[in-house]
């Protein structure tokens, strides 16, 4: 950005060049603002120059999340951790699950998650016999009032957890 060795008598020029470079960088940070004036379908986010789409998203009273459920032998279901569905942190995995389900890849996702659950040493996951990929819709007011039940739930795919079969009398 700043030339390191000033040419003789060229400090003014150097300052002008520095100011131009700085103005260019700040302008680049501001340029994504034009996305906010585009129709939502045409907006495109970037990195490291962003228009921060999470702040201009339309918010509703209900929320739908694609996630994993683990079902035990008694038919009880519980939420499974997102690490069984992918890597890179919760929000990255969440987006990836949305894309996979939208593209018809729910069965493959369920099978991968079931294989991951099979290797889990967590006591709460040892009894899981089946993994479901579901979309759950909750009303926020109900959810925060302590009602954990969804307004509606769609099961996209299920997969059996591949547990090793043990010989008779064997111990796990």
């Amino acid at each position: 950005m700043t030339p390191r060795t000033p040419p003789p008598g060229g400090e003014r020029l150097q300052k002008a060049l520095t100011l131009m470079a700085a103005a260019g960088l700040v302008t680049a940070v501001l340029v994504p603002l034009r996305q906010s004036w585009r129709p939502p379908a045409e907006r495109r986010d970037g990195f490291p120059l962003s228009y921060y789409p999470m702040f201009s998203a339309r918010r509703r009273r209900t929320g739908t999340v694609v996630h994993l459920l683990g079902v035990d032998a008694g038919g009880e279901s519980r939420v499974l951790h997102h690490r069984h569905a992918g890597t890179g942190g919760m929000n990255q995995v969440r987006r990836q699950m949305n894309r996979r389900v939208a593209r018809g890849g729910a069965a493959e996702l369920a099978a991968e998650a079931a294989r991951s659950v099979a290797t889990s040493s967590r006591p709460t996951e040892r009894g899981v016999v089946e993994v479901q990929v579901v979309s759950s819709t909750h009303r926020y007011d109900d959810f925060f009032a302590g009602d954990p039940g969804p307004l509606r739930r769609t099961v996209h795919a299920t997969a059996t957890v591949p547990r090793p079969t043990l010989p008779a009398g064997g111990r796990r």
Binding site: D45, F47, G89
Partner: protein, 303 residues
Amino acid sequence: MSRLDRLQRGLDQTLLPSAPATRPALLRIVNGVYTGVYLARRVRMFRRVHRTDPSLFAPVGPVRVLRRPLPPVVADGLLYAGLAADVAFTAGLWHRVTGPAHAALLLWTLSYRNSWSMVFHHDNALVLHTAVLGCTPSADALSVDALHTRAPRPDSWRYGTPGRVMEAVTAASYLVTAIAKVKGPLGWSWVRGESLRSQIAADALRKALLGEQVSSTGTRLYPHTRVFTVLAAGSLALELAAPLALLDRRLARLWSVGVFGLHWGIKVVMGIRFRHHLTGVIYAPSFPLERLLPLGRRLLRRR
């Protein structure tokens, strides 16, 4: 002194303030250490990301030059090169080469990490600040390079400018977030807090259904809509005021303390950790860090 000269002098002091060589040097060290820790702690996660299903590849930033993902080994290699460049950048070794190289590799590494369906916006400022420090004389003091030259380094606008540009970049990004809010479907009524409340609710619901810990503070605050009005109004005011903070040094420090508090508030209410902001590293350019050096030297002598 003519009016034009006075105007030029005033502009110089505001836009290109004079500073000692130690100021950008300390910013370089703080930024470099933060980046090194940030990347080193995530090497395993980055390597796993490099091996994600190629069908989920959605390139952003400079990674848009790729049509398909890199072979994982190449992506790993660039990550390790980035870590090595960060060490050289932090130490101020061959800064003319390692400074821009580190900035370019960090931009690539984080863009590549963000090219798998989710952009992590909290890294924007880190990349831009590193670009500023990597391409300016931030290793003329407190560096391996400086050990070789030993030439006196008088205060100069060249050392005050990097911090000033970093502040401007930070202010511009906060202004973009403010405009995104008021340009959204709610317009200026975003300030009522309903949208913020719904955003917090959506985040908590995702966490609950994806197996993460939900912030108990956010859950407790949810029924109190007025609290969200105060939070929304406060955050929007701070973001809109960001460019004003560039006009005065004390105002800039006050603003930095305000947004630092805002991010800690977000952590408490939403459980979201914007580490670059929570550590204060992003706001360091607003403070004369070099004044801490004599204190550090005194402490070292006592040992």
